[in-house]
């Protein structure tokens, strides 16, 4: 072996390659002149894309001097936020993006989003004050900056397969709404009975898989449970409320009211007709046909009362966009009262002026006016958003791992204590 003699040469060669590799880095393009805008979004639904494209084309036609084209790029990664952050980290920054609410504070805090308050305020006819304060709050910082328009502000509701319940000989759930009997306990009793009589799934919790723990813990509000304190600094997974809630949840799984978790697989779809209850949002009604009769009801109450929840998504301009100004201009157009009404076709709007049966009936023609009133309009003003935290991505996997034993029937108290031990240092920052 003459290896040693050449080792020096090999190392030198390596160094040269390293330099040449990094020299390949591309330069920035300039930001002046009309822009080609790119917007990243979660949905690849044709209807959504067509509507957005229509609004985009109209804007380009009016403002050709500022914007020459607008491209809508779906990021279809099931883990949307991982896909988006990977894209941003890669320096391939879209000008606008949909941001799910769970990541809102984190994105606002780390300065990724551009403050669009002034643009929105100064746009004629935009009427920023029309936006529900509760909906806007997650997207604001202490100084009142506005980092997104919460274009979808959609309450979680209880879908019910009436045919399946009738087949299983269960009582009429609809008539329970508004009575003290409309509780999770009643619903899960019915779910468990339906499951044991028909083999169908009892109650589906939204997009429930082990990595989506925030969707599951959000229901804990009705048990007085929250994952952490209001200021985000203290872990509250081990609070009595959360333990009660998770113990209850475990019991529902063991008696078949809620399906067991299966690895990374999703549960049966409500649309398949084999699910008695499903917690989902308004937009899901779009996937339901007439093959069975269903209703859309507000969430039931828990031991600590009725706690409605909304799921949100915002549209933001990214700070690292090379066309912030043009992108903010388009955002103001996309979400003005006229276009917000168009968007309401798919996404319940956060605007007070649009929150009425007439507008929302367009959004979900399959819902009755009473359902819209009781499960959406009455709900939105008091609803809370899903749990949020400014460094969520840094400890989210630890919570996921910590909760896993709960889903498979393990000791709840040990699990939540373990979670708090693990994430408390991160929460404190």
């Amino acid at each position: 072996m003459r290896a040693t003699r050449y080792r020096g040469a090999a190392i030198a060669l390596t160094g040269v390659l390293a330099v040449s590799l990094s020299a390949c880095a591309g330069g920035d393009t300039d930001a002046s002149g009309p822009a080609d805008l790119k917007m990243a979004l979660w949905s690849s639904n044709e209807g959504h894309l067509a509507l957005l494209k229509k609004i985009g084309d109209a804007y380009v036609a009016e403002h050709g001097d500022e914007v020459t084209s607008i491209t809508f790029e779906p990021v279809t990664n099931p883990d949307y936020i991982a896909g988006l952050t990977t894209q941003i980290a890669g320096g391939d920054v879209p000008d606008l993006a949909w941001i799910p609410e769970a990541s809102g504070p984190e994105f606002v805090d780390s300065g990724i989003l551009h403050d669009v308050r002034d643009t929105l305020k100064d746009t004629e006819g935009y009427d920023l004050d029309d936006i529900l304060p509760a909906a806007l709050a997650p997207w604001q910082d202490d100084k009142g900056g506005v980092y997104a328009y919460p274009f979808s502000n959609s309450p979680f509701a209880l879908y019910i397969n009436e045919d399946l319940l009738a087949k299983a000989g269960q009582p009429d759930v609809k008539s329970l709404v508004g009575t003290p009997n409309y509780t999770w306990e009643t619903i899960t009793d019915i779910a468990a009975a339906t499951n044991s009589k028909t083999g169908a799934v009892g109650l589906n919790v939204p997009t429930f898989n082990p990595t989506n723990w925030s969707a599951v813990t959000m229901l804990g509000n009705a048990w007085g449970a929250a994952p952490w304190s209001e200021d985000g600094a203290t872990c509250e997974f081990a609070s009595p409320g959360m333990i009660d809630y998770l113990t209850w949840y475990q019991k529902q799984m063991s008696r078949g009211a809620i399906p067991a978790v299966s690895g990374n697989a999703a549960p049966a779809a409500f649309a398949s007709g084999d699910v008695a209850f499903s917690i989902a949002q308004l937009s899901q009604s779009g996937s339901l046909d007439d093959s069975f009769e269903w209703s859309f009801l507000p969430l039931p109450a828990g031991p600590k009362g009725y706690h409605p929840i909304v799921g949100q998504a915002g549209v933001s301009v990214l700070e690292r966009s090379k066309h912030q100004k043009q992108a903010a201009g388009f955002l103001a157009y996309l979400t003005n009262p006229t276009n917000a009404e168009l968007l309401a076709q798919f996404f319940p709007p956060p605007r007070q002026s649009l929150l009425n049966v007439k507008t929302l009936s367009k959004a979900a023609p399959k819902l009755s006016p009473e359902e819209i009133q009781s499960a959406i309009i009455d709900v939105v003003p008091e609803a809370k958003v899903k749990p949020q935290h400014p460094v969520l991505s840094q400890f989210s996997d630890k919570v996921r791992a910590g909760l896993d034993p709960v889903w498979s029937g393990g000791d709840v108290k040990a699990a939540v204590t373990g979670i708090c031990e693990q994430i408390s240092p991160t929460l404190k920052g």
Partner: protein
């Protein structure tokens, strides 16, 4: 172990043969059943997939699962992406690793042992380890969401070392006389490689070609990191993205797409399996 060859034990050997078949049939189940189940379930209506007790054959045959394969995603284009990437990777891997394997086996040149040791060592650096610098370099070159990383990495990256090794082993045992005769006739060394050694290396070509094709076709981690838009997806990534808008998996569609991905290659394999297996058997990995 060929005890059945012994005539003294013929009676016993019949029993042995039956035992052997039973054993082999039982062993086949975990290899065969998943693929069969995937194939047949793609003809089931969605609600039959978790029917209790589970079934292999559909109770009601339907093409529903396939209907949305092509509308929910640009599946044909994704198929094309996977095929053209795998084709480039296969051809380039064969050519480049044959050249390198031949040189390592037959030509003396400076730093040969250092270079070969370096290559063997590089096998221990998978893309999973180096993904961050590769990710930043790919982005810096503006190649994010293109197929370039999926083409370059398997051809030239550390995963290609096994191919070089296979060719090297093959050419080490390639009779020198053939080459020397040609060289005395005035054929250049390059000519010897391209006109004599390479055409005679069919088993190694088959082995490397199959491995390179499968490697490219199975590439998932890199695709997940580098590809963003559905029209650029490769098949592996596409199969994981059959969700309806509300995030619920479209099971039968997903299984339909999986079947469409698997079945054509399986058919090619069944037709060419003799060459397939023989090529692999002669990789030189048997020592």
């Amino acid at each position: 172990m060929r005890s059945d060859a012994s005539s003294a034990a013929r009676g016993r050997s019949r029993v042995t043969a039956v035992t052997l078949y039973v054993l082999l049939v039982a062993a086949s189940v975990p290899f065969l059943y998943p693929t069969l189940w995937m194939f047949f379930s793609s003809f089931k209506p969605a609600n039959e997939i978790f029917l209790q007790p589970p079934t292999l054959l559909p109770g009601e045959w339907t093409l529903d699962g396939f209907a949305q394969v092509f509308t929910a995603q640009p599946f044909l284009q994704q198929y094309g992406n996977s095929m053209y990437i795998a084709a480039i990777v296969t051809v380039a891997s064969i050519l480049l690793s044959a050249m390198a394997g031949y040189a390592f086996a037959r030509i003396r040149f400076p730093l040969r042992n250092v270079a070969f040791t370096l290559m063997l060592a590089a096998m221990m650096v998978p893309t999973e380890v180096t993904i961050i610098p590769i990710f930043t370099a790919v982005n810096a070159m503006g190649l994010n969401n293109t197929h370039w990383p999926l083409i370059i990495l398997p051809i030239l990256g550390p995963t290609a070392v096994v191919s070089v090794f296979i060719f090297r082993q093959h050419f080490l045992s390639f009779p020198k006389e053939y080459e020397e005769a040609a060289r005395l006739d005035g054929v250049t060394r390059a000519g010897v490689f391209f006109r004599i050694a390479l055409p005679l290396a069919k088993p190694a070509i088959a082995a490397v070609g199959i491995m390179a094709f499968l490697r490219s076709f199975n590439m998932y981690f890199e695709a997940l990191i580098f590809l963003r838009t559905p029209e650029n997806f490769t098949l592996g990534l596409a199969i994981t993205r059959y969700q309806d808008f509300y995030g619920e998996q479209m099971w039968n569609t997903q299984l339909g797409a999986a079947s469409l991905t698997v079945v054509p290659i399986l058919v090619v394999f069944l037709i060419a399996q003799k060459q397939f297996v023989q090529g692999l058997a002669q990789t030189g990995l048997k020592g």
